[in-house]
Assembly symmetry: C2
Homo-oligomer: 191 residues x 2
């Protein structure tokens, strides 16, 4: 396949994902009809379902795309930085919307849950590897297992996502994230 | 009003709330039709809306009821204990379902958000007062403001609710809650 064609396919794929993200966030999974997906992406149903087998595959690709982006930030800067970015993001609403739809579908649809489970490992893995590197560098507390610290950070992230998605005030959360960060760090000797 | 009548009204009110809780959890807010609410409560629509003005008022009463119960546990045993109870509860699913519906409605309906804001203060207040008492008793770390500690615990709770509502595995979360608890406690001197 010539290079230009692959670039074109990638661009088209991203166009669909970006439009679908807004659409799912605004109307929810069930409310995001094919007609609305066409409007939101500016593409025909033929073009959309050339790239994605069906609506569920499109939604899954979207959630996976988000998880990969987060994993990249985690690998470079850690999960607390992902949370700080979320706090600072003025346009995080679309991402949050699709994330909340993901939560709903995971709750109500066991089959979907199984499909998602295979794909959601990456974020956990990126977090765990980052923590292991931090422990080697002597920055991490060493009295608690890395698995526990990973679950802890993921749990706080989940809470933050939920908090922001509900539109609750977030201007007081910076010191909370400082506390989260300090609670996985090696304790400084008391002066 | 004679005493027996008030008891009867209270019992009827609880009957409606218990049935509605299951119904909202199973079908979601929009899917919980009046007919389904009748089935779930075993009462006629006339009886239901004698007690609650409309479906939204019923849903709000339900969410408020949950928040009060949690506030009671917080006052006695703290917010971390609420989380431990959640982990241990085999039948927490209904409660989680309505909680997740609450999150959705808060996100999509600003008017509802305003109605809810007035009622959700109680849990925050109970948490804050409990922490203040713990600080006086010398059990709490004193280098971080109680407001920050309160927000921190609420954020973790939100994450836990979301985690459980998604049906994710929870058998590894006990040590995570230990970490949460220790991170608001006064540090023990290192031996």
């Amino acid at each position: 396949m010539p290079r230009v064609s692959k670039d074109h396919l990638d661009a088209r794929r991203h166009q669909i994902l970006d439009g679908a993200r807004v659409c799912f966030a605004r109307y929810g999974y069930e409310g995001a009809t094919v007609r609305r997906l066409e409007e939101a992406t500016g593409l025909s149903r033929g073009a959309i379902f050339h790239h994605f087998r069906d609506k569920e595959s499109l939604f899954l690709a979207l959630a996976e795309d988000d998880a990969h982006r987060m994993a990249d930030v985690v690998a470079r800067e850690g999960l607390v930085q992902v949370m700080r970015d979320l706090l600072a993001a003025p346009n995080g609403a679309d991402w949050l919307g699709s994330r909340l739809e993901l939560s709903r579908r995971l709750r109500t649809d066991p089959e979907f849950r199984a499909r998602w489970a295979e794909r959601s490992e990456r974020l956990t893995l990126a977090t765990r590897q980052r923590l292991l590197r931090q422990r080697e560098a002597g920055n991490l507390r060493d009295d608690i297992d890395v698995t526990v610290l990973t679950s802890y950070l993921e749990l706080v992230l989940e809470g933050l996502v939920s908090h922001l998605a509900m539109g609750l005030p977030a201007d007081d959360l910076e010191p909370v994230l400082d506390l989260v960060e300090s609670s996985v760090r090696r304790a400084r000797p008391r002066s």
